[in-house]
């Protein structure tokens, strides 16, 4: 092998360069062989040991789809409560944006936010309707 310091040729087994004395051999990197866990003899009455499945054999888990509640957001804007409805549309847009960018966790978060906005708009619509009927009936 050639010395990394001075470039002179040395024996393969030499530890130091014969010309400049620089260290030649790197300690060999410890290569841990990948081993399957050793099979164990189950104790009497214990469950038999099943080695875990190797990576690549099981199909990847499919993520559940993330709803954006855009339908309800449109209904909220048109029938119920315009400010909440516009916010719900904006949140639905965020869900689509995060899904398109591959940010599943962010999409779920935006989806939950959109869902709670839909419930708020339902509450606002019901609340206003009740107030209206009470006013009509002279209770106000």
């Amino acid at each position: 092998m050639f010395c990394p310091q001075c470039g002179s040729k040395n024996d393969e087994q030499s530890l130091h360069c014969s010309q400049c004395g620089a260290a030649l051999q790197q300690p060999p990197a410890v290569q841990a062989p990948v081993q399957a866990p050793p099979p164990q003899y189950p104790a009497p009455g214990a469950q038999p040991y099943y080695p875990p499945p190797q990576f690549g054999t099981a199909p990847p888990p499919t993520l559940p789809p993330v709803p954006n509640y855009l339908t309800q957001a449109i209904m909220a804007t048109i029938f119920c409560c315009i400010p909440v409805g516009i916010f719900a549309i904006i949140r639905a847009n965020e869900v689509n944006k995060k899904l398109a960018a591959g940010d599943y966790a962010g999409a779920v978060q935006a989806s939950n936010s959109a869902k709670s906005l839909c419930w708020w708009s339902v509450g606002a619509g019901i609340g206003f309707t009740i107030l209206y009927y009470m006013h009509q009936l002279g209770k106000f």
């Binding site: 789809p65 954006n68 855009l70 449109i74 029938f79 904006i90 847009n93 209206y132």
Partner: protein
């Protein structure tokens, strides 16, 4: 947990729409005080994007789509979209409806809603026909 709350949103929104449709089958908006008016309009005189949608449903149910369109063009055009979305939510409860629409389009729809709201409140001729009934009387902003 996710399934049941998604399902209840679908149920509540369908029931709400069904209640409105049923109500306008029997009641005439404007001729009865049993149908609630738009809160924003009652308080400020401003036309929100939903003003006229009850009347829109009334005309649709009674077979006059032309009058329905004049009451609220946005509701008229959005109604098939909403119906489609609700049907999809019933048929496949946990799928994402409309989630593959490019995000820009959803924001553009929001912008369209806002533009519609602003336009129908301007009392200049091409815009005020978007006000409920296509009438140009009580718009808020007076154009010169």
């Amino acid at each position: 947990m996710r399934n049941s709350s998604d399902r209840s949103i679908t149920i509540v929104s369908t029931l709400g729409l069904a209640a409105m449709v049923t109500a306008v089958c029997f009641l005439r908006p404007g001729a009865t005080s049993w149908l609630p008016p738009c809160p924003l309009h009652a308080l400020t005189g401003f036309y929100c994007p939903g003003c006229g949608s009850t009347r829109m449903l009334y005309y649709l149910v009674h077979g006059e789509p032309g009058m329905a369109f004049r009451e609220n063009a946005l509701s008229f055009l959005a109604l098939p979209v909403v119906l489609y979305g609700l049907v999809r939510q019933w048929m496949r409860p946990n799928s994402g409806v409309f989630t593959r629409i490019r995000p820009g389009w959803v924001l553009a729809f929001g912008g369209l809603v806002i533009a519609f709201t602003v336009a129908r409140n301007i009392s200049a001729q091409p815009f005020c026909s978007l006000a409920p009934g296509g009438e140009c009387r009580t718009a808020l902003v007076q154009a010169r």
